[in-house]
Every structure is written in C-alpha cells, then in structure tokens.
Amino acid sequence: MKKLSLPWIIIPTTVALLLPLFLRDQYFLHISVLILIYTGVTVAWNIMSFGGVLSLGHAAFFGIGAYTVSILYVDYGVNPWLGILAAIIFAAVGSLVLAIPLLRLRGPFFTLATLAYVEVLRLLAIWAVPVTNGSVGITTPPTQGLAYISFESRQPYYYIALAFTLAAIAISIWIYRSKLGYHLRAVATDEDAVRALGVRTNRVKLGSLLISAGMTGAFGAFAALYFFVIEPDTQFSATLYSIQPALNGIIGGMGTIAGPIVGAIIMTPLGEWLRVTFSGASQGVNFMIYGAVLIIIVRLMPGGLVEGFRAIARKTRRGGKGRGGKRSADAKTTKEGE
C-alpha cells in the first residue's frame, strides 16, 4: 500500500453503489447489509491492529452503541440520527475503561482484559433491568422514514450502511497514511524504539482506541436500528462482535487496508451459507464445519488471504525464485514469534 491506486477505489465503490440496481432480491440485499456492517466493524477493529494490538473487546463498543441509540430512541424519544452520534461518543467514552490496560499491558494480557470487559458489560446489561429491560431486550418502534432509519425495503438500509462503511474505510485509509498511522505501525514493530525517538506512544495508542471504539459504536447503533431488537447476549456477544470481526481481519490480513474488507466479504456469507445449508440436518454441524474451516485457513494462510494471494501471485510471476525470500520471511516471523 505505497500509493492508493485509483482504480482499486473507484471500481469496487461503483460496483457497491450500483449493486441494488441489479440485485433486487431483498434477502441478498439483507446479506449485503450484513456484510457492510461486518466490514465496518472489522475496519474499525483493524485501526487498533495497525498498532499491533489485538482487541477482543469490540463487542463492548458495539453493544454500547446499540444500547445508546435504542435507549435514547425508545425511552427519551431522541431521533436515531442523533442517537448514532451519541452512540459514537458513548462508545468512545466507554472504551476509556480499557485505556489503562492498553497503556500498561502488552500482548495477550490486554486481549484478555478486553474480553473480560465485554463479559462485564453483558452481565451488567442483563442485570440493569430498569435501564436495559434485561434479557428481554429493547425493540425499536416500527415508525418508518429516513428520519427514523426504518424502512420497508432493504435498499435505503443498504445505502446508509454503504455510506457508513465507505466513511469507515476512508477514515481507516486516512489514518493509515497519516502521522498517527505511521506512528501506530512503528509501535507495532518496536514500541520501545519509537518511544525512544520521542513519539508519545501512549497518545498514539489511545487515539487508535478512541477512534476505533467510536466507529464500532456507530455500526452497533446502526445494527440495532436495522435488526429492531437488541438483547445483551447478542449485542454484547464476544463471538459475534469481538471474535468475528477479529477473525475477518485476520483471515483477510491484519493491519492492512484491504484485508479486513476482503475478510468480511468472504466470511459473512460463508457463515450464512453454512447455517442455511446444514441447520436442521443435525445439530451443530454448521459450526463444526465453521470451526474446522477456521482452523484450516489460519493454519494454511497465517498471513491472511490478501497476503496469501499476493504470495501466490508473486510465486506465479517469478516462477521458482521464491525460495530465498520465503526462507528469510520464515526467519523474520520466528523472531516476531518469540
């Protein structure tokens, strides 16, 4: 990603914009909206991984966003658009709980702290019945219209989701290429060295946390309006909104721009397809396959799909010359693995 090549931006964007014209089936549009939501959350998650940080706490930000918009709308009559704005702010503020662990901990310890945070919020959402309506959840009113982000057709949802996702991607590209992104990537390589150069690494990491959380909150809020019903076990589900985005990112290629997008586009329909195909046949088979596929992909393409395809492309282009490069890449990863 040295230079943004224009065709790579224009072509997919155009395709995405025109898609509803060709794809009138509401169910496929629905899947497309799901893909967009997941792409957005994954792209948001990925901003933290620019800095080499693995967060499994994004379900927390997603859930905060969902609950913020729903509670404001249902209990206080706040317009959902304003609610989404509030969701961004609340999710960012909510992420501050993780700020201290983020700055003090490295590697798996931070990851575990983020998982614990999701769990705490889930349990609190179940417990605080007067605010959250507990496990029964909150249902947003059926009033339709652009002002309420509620429509009969999937098309407007699709375009709103697309706008959100494109904005998220734009922000992510902008960050990647900004000084913040440069510092983040440097932190990912060697935090101590970067700090020694006088970069305020704490500020950099905190910035990525806040931006990432705020973006995730926006998608959580949109998803709440899109699904109508929110409930703690789903909205604060580590599996759905922490692990799945991380998985998309990793399968596509963590810390790259295109990786998360590719990952979400592939993994979301895969999950849907497995469920649709195997559910009802025998309990659990679809998730068994999902787990197995996950193991296989991670085992065979540890650099992610984007990297994997690139390697294949390089290999075919260069014929057998890959050997030296391959070997050195191994040496490098060995070192990182320590």
Binding site: G324, G325, R327, S328, A331
Partner: protein
C-alpha cells in the same frame, strides 16, 4: 575441526551475511573480530543453527552439519554462549548450570561437571543457590560461560563476553577463558575490541559487512598493516 564455508544469511529481507568463511582448530582461542553490525553475532547464530544458512556449508569434524537442528549441534559439542548472557533469571545458578548440561544428562556425571565448573569459577560455587538474575554482571557472565561448559563442548562460542563488564573483570574473564581453552577445547571469542582480543587469542578472523576480510594467527593479524589501519586504529 569446524569449517564454516562461504555462508550467507538473511534477517527478513535484509541480507546479514554475504560471504563468511571461518575455520576453527581443535583447540586454542580464536578471536572473531569486526566492528559493530559486521555480522559476527549472525554468524554465530548460523553456526549454532538458530538461523538457517541461505547458501554455503558448515562442517564439523568432517561432517556436513548445515541442515541439523540446534539441539543436535549442542549434542555434537558446538555450544553458543549468547550475547547478553541470557540466563534464566528466576532460576538458581545451579539450575542454570544443570540445564546447560541437558544434552549430557544421561551420562550421570552432572555432579562431576558441576564441580569442574565450580573449580573454574569459585564465585559461582558461593552463589549456587542464588537467583541468577540477582547477581552482578561479571558473575552472570561466569554463569553463562559455565552453563555453556556444562554441555561438554568441543567448540565454545562466546558472544561479546566483555560487554558491559569492568576492565578488571574483563581481564579475569579472558584469563579464565584461556585456561579453559588449555583443557583441550576450541574457544571462539567474539569481540569488538580487536586489540584486547588479539592479545589472548591464538588465531583470529576479521569480518566486516558480512564478508570475511582477514584470517590468520593472532600474531600475524597484529602485525598486518590492513588490520592495524582499519581495526586497531593506529
């Protein structure tokens, strides 16, 4: 006894070694010299098997060992004392030493070897039960060398032994190393201070920029004009 022939190696995409050739006799001290980032430590890592050689071969006692694992090489008698000592800090000195003798654990002579180490380094005997991380730099270096010797090496490669040690301790250490070499093993000393090293060493090899520049007896190198100009700073 150990012949390193024309090896190259990479860190990531960066080439760290281009063409290094190194030969060790069956005993005596060989100094392996060169400026910072010349590729000395990398060479050692290739010899001990931590990094694969991209090209070139390594022979030990007439056998090609280029493809063997670090463990096999230790078992054969090629032992690497890494830069920065890398002791197991939370474990006792004695446990560190015992682990050093891991490859020889089955010959039931661990106690005898321990005694031998304690003879060489009486300080370590005093500190046997102390956590290794809590000792002074010099003591830690002794422990690291002792740990290497526990494997019963034929070739002992010590990386940057004098780094961060007081000059008095450095002198002591050099003397001890010379003593060890006299018991019939080959010691490879990696040093930045060319002059100090050439004073204790019997032989020397100088590398720079990942390429072997000069090889000879210590005396030859001390007298060589090139070496004097480029590395001894006269």
């Amino acid at each position: 006894m150990l012949e390193v022939m024309n090896i190259s190696a990479y860190y990531g995409d960066a080439q760290a070694l281009e063409d290094v050739t190194l030969s060790l006799p069956a005993h005596g001290v060989t100094a392996f010299l060169g400026p910072n980032a010349a590729g000395k430590s990398t060479t050692l890592r290739v010899v001990s098997g931590l990094i694969p050689a991209a090209t070139g071969t390594i022979e030990f006692e007439g056998r090609d060992i280029t493809g063997t694992s670090p463990q096999e090489r230790v078992a054969m008698g090629i032992v690497h004392v890494p830069e920065g000592r890398r002791l197991f800090n939370t474990m006792t000195v004695e446990d560190n030493l015992i682990l050093g003798g891991y490859t020889k654990r089955k010959d039931r002579k661990t106690a005898a070897r321990l005694d031998e180490i304690y003879d060489h380094f009486p300080k370590l005997a005093e500190r046997r039960k102390q956590e290794a991380g809590l000792m002074s730099g010099g003591e830690q270096q002794m422990c690291a060398v002792g740990r290497g010797m526990m494997a019963g090496p034929k070739v002992l490669m010590i990386d940057e032994m004098s780094l961060g040690l007081a000059p008095v301790i450095v002198k002591q250490m050099f003397a001890i190393v010379k003593g060890i070499a006299a018991t019939g093993m080959s010691v490879l000393l990696v040093e930045q201070h060319v002059k100090n090293a050439l004073e204790v060493a019997d032989f020397g090899t100088i590398i720079d920029g990942g390429i072997t520049r000069a090889t000879g007896t210590a005396a030859e190198l001390r007298e060589s004009d090139v070496v004097r100009e480029s590395y001894l700073g006269h």
